[in-house]
């Protein structure tokens, strides 16, 4: 049973999805989905327990040994991402029933849960597989299910947003497929560990270099690294309320994981940084992305869109960590990947609760909500503090490592810029907090009431986790530090 865990963690959600689609009753389907999701959380935790301290699990699907069969590989990094996907996904799916009640006719609910589970399963698949082609297949599944999720938004513009995302996602996936195809052409293998062994001898091959370019552009599109981020704000804005929380937490982060995996493990540090100088490309793009997206966020009037732009900026922090090419920087990337997923999911969930009552996410309509919905707004404020990076919240931990990484490279100017960019986060979060607590509520929202407890509890779980991971950093920064040392080949 323990031995089969790597397969079980994927199969739980993957098998629950088709079963859900066959159940007509939305309530039963929801219960099934929730059980499957939370069981997969337990499985991820167990896997983390197994690899804790730097162990690795290699599982052979169907008993076929690699490089011929499909291999599932789990180390601390993939276990951390697994926890991220399953835990935050499960928290969102728990509130999904309440959130869907007004949004959709009930006989459609079970299909929505199916799509959601499929999306989760594919993200888990990407995380654990040790096979490059599998990465592509699961990326496609996740993209397809995400289009369906976004398109269910009530706003008609959700359809355009989903369509644009479809075009972008397909191009991104195609680029990645081309990259994998090139690699297969040169080496004749698809197993990632095997690729890592064989690629160095072809480092001067133009085909391998072209594959690297295709891969980086394709995955950067998926992560929404500036300037390839244009699909993200619309997709987040028009997706159904709670779904945005799930997408913001997981989809881009898993793509980031794929990028780390390929840059450091498959292509190797030597090739990616010494020969291809990926850091020289990522650094200016990340910094530009952080500043431009933060600035845009400051001037937004729709809170959902504001948070979406802030996501683009925060993703800039993560790619910046990679571009630093030192242990502290990579630690910051991995830590921020987890922390930001948690914080942004929580913020979108709180916002979903507010929209549920106000039917609007315009900043003017949020006036005075601190008094009418104190608990939701309280959680929002705590999570907002986390996003800004106030000490004793999770956001502070990642920024701390990032600034340290900049100082370690002697880039004092960059460290100062990072601090300035945090002040911009103060501006856009402060704008919301100010309206929520210090402006009188407009007449039509006078009798707004607090949302149901079933939504409040997950909101506060996110908020409390944000504080918890700001104090106890063993799971986040601890793991990230070990992972960074292994990936950069320092600790060996």
């Amino acid at each position: 049973m323990i031995y089969q865990l790597p397969a079980i963690v994927l199969l739980l959600t993957l098998l629950a999805a088709p079963i859900c689609s066959m159940i007509r009753n939305g309530d039963i389907a929801w219960k099934l989905a929730v059980i499957a999701a939370w069981l997969s959380v337990a499985a991820s935790m167990a896997l983390m327990h197994q690899v804790w301290g730097g162990n690795e699990i290699s599982y052979h699907m169907g008993g076929w040994p690699p490089p011929w069969g499909i291999e599932v590989r789990i180390d601390e990094l993939s276990a951390l991402v697994l926890i991220l996907v399953t835990l935050f996904g499960s928290l969102v799916i728990t509130v999904l029933r309440e959130s869907l009640r007004t949004a959709m006719r009930s006989h459609r609910h079970s299909l929505y849960y199916t799509t959601f589970l499929l999306c989760m399963a594919s993200l888990i698949g990407i995380t654990i597989t040790g096979d490059a082609f599998n990465v592509f297949v699961f990326l496609e599944i996740s993209s397809l299910s995400t289009y369906a999720l976004i398109a269910r938004g009530r706003d008609r513009r959700a359809l355009t947003a989903a369509f644009r995302y479809l075009i972008m996602g397909t191009i991104g996936a195609t680029f990645i497929l081309i990259a994998i195809g090139f690699m297969y052409m040169v080496t004749g293998t698809l197993n990632m560990a095997d690729l890592a062994v064989r690629l160095p001898e072809h480092a001067d091959n133009r085909v391998v270099q072209a594959s690297f370019a295709f891969f980086i552009v394709g995955i950067a599109l998926k992560i929404a690294i500036f300037p390839l981020h244009y699909w993200l704000p619309n997709a987040y804005t028009y997706a159904p309320k709670a779904t945005t929380a799930f997408l913001a937490a997981t989809a881009t982060k898993v793509s980031l994981y794929v990028m780390i995996r390929f840059i450091f493990d498959v292509y190797g540090v030597e090739f990616s940084f010494k020969q291809m100088h990926i850091d020289a490309l990522l650094l200016p793009l990340s910094v530009a992305g952080i500043f431009i997206a933060s600035l845009i966020a400051v001037f937004q009037s729709d809170v959902k869109r504001l948070l979406a732009w802030s996501s683009v900026a925060q993703l800039g922090y993560m790619s910046l960590g990679i571009a630093m090419v030192n242990v502290a920087g990579l630690t910051a990337t991995v830590t921020h990947m987890f922390n930001h997923a948690m914080i942004k999911a929580g913020l979108f969930l709180c916002l979903a609760a507010m929209i549920y009552r106000l039917n609007s996410s315009h900043i003017k309509d949020l006036a005075g909500i601190g008094r009418s919905m104190p608990l939701t707004t309280g959680a929002f404020a705590v999570l907002g503090a986390g996003l800004v990076g106030i000490p004793l919240t999770a956001g502070f931990v990642s920024k701390w490592y990032l600034i340290n990484a900049a100082l370690e490279n002697g880039w004092v100017i960059l460290a100062v810029m990072l601090i300035i960019s945090s002040l911009m986060a103060v501006a856009y979060i402060g704008k919301i907090i100010d309206v929520a607590y210090f402006k009188p509520a407009p007449a039509q929202h006078k009798d707004v009431k607090e949302v149901a407890t079933s939504i409040l509890i997950p909101c506060w779980i996110f908020a409390l986790l944000t504080i918890y991971f700001g104090i106890d950093t063993r799971l986040t920064a601890g793991v990230a530090g070990r992972v960074a040392e292994t990936l950069l080949g320092v600790g060996l």
Binding site: I171, A210, P227, Y230, F299, R305, V412
Partner: protein, 562 residues
Amino acid sequence: MTSLSPALLFIIAGCLLPLIPASTRRYVALLVPVIGIALLLLTPHGSYGQVSIFGLELTTYRLDKLAFVWALIFHIAAFIGALYAFHLKDTVQQVAALLYQGAAIGAVLAGDMITLFVWWELTAIASVFLIWARRTERAYRVGMRYLMIQIGSGVILLTGVLMHLHDTGSIAFDNLGLTSVATLLIFISFGIKCAFPFLHNWLQDSYPEATVTGTVILSAFTTKLAVYALARGYAGTEILIWIGAAMTAFPIFFAVIENDLRRVLAYSLNNQLGFMVVGVGIGTEMALNGTAAHAFSHILYKALLFMAMGAVLYRVKTIKASELGGLYKSMPWTTFFCIIGSLSISAFPLFSGFISKSMILTAVAVEHHTVVWLILLMASAGVMDHSGIKIPFFAFFAHDSGKRCEEAPLNMLWAMGIAAFLCIAIGVYPDALYAIMPYPVDYAPYTTAHVITQLQLLMFSALAFTVLFLTGLYPPEIKSVNLDTDWLYRKAAVKIIAPVSTAVASTQAMLFTGLATLTQRSLSKIDQLVGPQAWLTRSVDSTGMVGLITATLLVFLMFYLW
């Protein structure tokens, strides 16, 4: 149990306060400082609460003699503040006050600079609510400015601490000295909170705009925390002597011409801080004792004065000198307490200011800083003039404004009474205060020479005030509110260098209008660029996005293959 930091007690109480019934909240606010003092007294000096975060060893609770003085007076100030605000039913202010006081105490008890930074920022965030709680548009804007500056100070501190960590590998909060860029940054951050000249404007800007009770609480903590930080990190740094001397001298002129009496007190607060900063700059044992003692007695009489003015504002609804006068008939007790505060701040013998300020003056004299000594002497005369006489005179006596009101609420009177009692007690029996000083005290305040010098000084400055007032030369209570830095260009200098000053003023005006227009234009430009309808933000259609991707790919391929 005894190593529980009182700061945590305040924070926990502050967080739980909204959950308990409204009627009991004010009792809790009163009880917390009392328990805090008990914890403080029961804890033997030493280091507690070692935590390891990100591979750094933090000492979250360090109690030694220097920290003890500040922690003790902060507790007393917290108690008096809570009593003064006892009539209030504003949860926001109650919570903010507890968090703010807790943060200030935590910062004083911090054993390393990371812990210091955390509390440092919390004081900024918690205290701004005491300003916002006035709930006017003006208070909101002032609070925003205040918050920006305070957070800025924290950010500079963090940058400095990080650089210091990289330079030396240590985050210990001990004597740093101005030796590197890192310590300079930390110094500037302390200086902002301490309201160094040219960094001081936030103080006069914000304190008079806070609520009646908020100002009393604000006046006790932020700046004195900064003095503590300077005493801890930069004792004996020469430049502080001159900074401090400048701080004692320049606010006098502003205080004399100011009409808002709470703003007068804010200026005089700045002047009093100057004395402490000089003490830190001298850095001898006696000077540091003087600084600690002065901080202790200063918190008490400054709070007393702010409480008296707050009571006037509370009853009369205005605090403009030009609209007050003759209030002693309606508020006899407040008048009485205010006069005690005035006597203390002017350093009359037998009042608290005397036994602490003279210590700093003596320390300056012992080190032969004659110029500084003279500046401080002049500043002492100035204090007498604007805080000792102007405040009670214009508020309670002068020409009768005809305003009649009730005496201040009972809880306010009690709070003022306790503060007044302590002012006198310290003045009469200074040994009690000297016993808790960081270094052994070998100093007798009541020598004939001290007393005579001080009395001469005070009498002559009182005489000067009387003569000036009777001959109509004393700046009258002017109704205008905006007497600020530009007053110097426009009024004082006009007679001497009229043409130059006009030129300066007009250039300045042009510059400011120019800047304002520029800011306005660039803001609208930015809004055009990145606002909701702007081209950078606008949704790009699919064709555009595909074009963008292709271009990016081409750039990448060219980068690699050529």
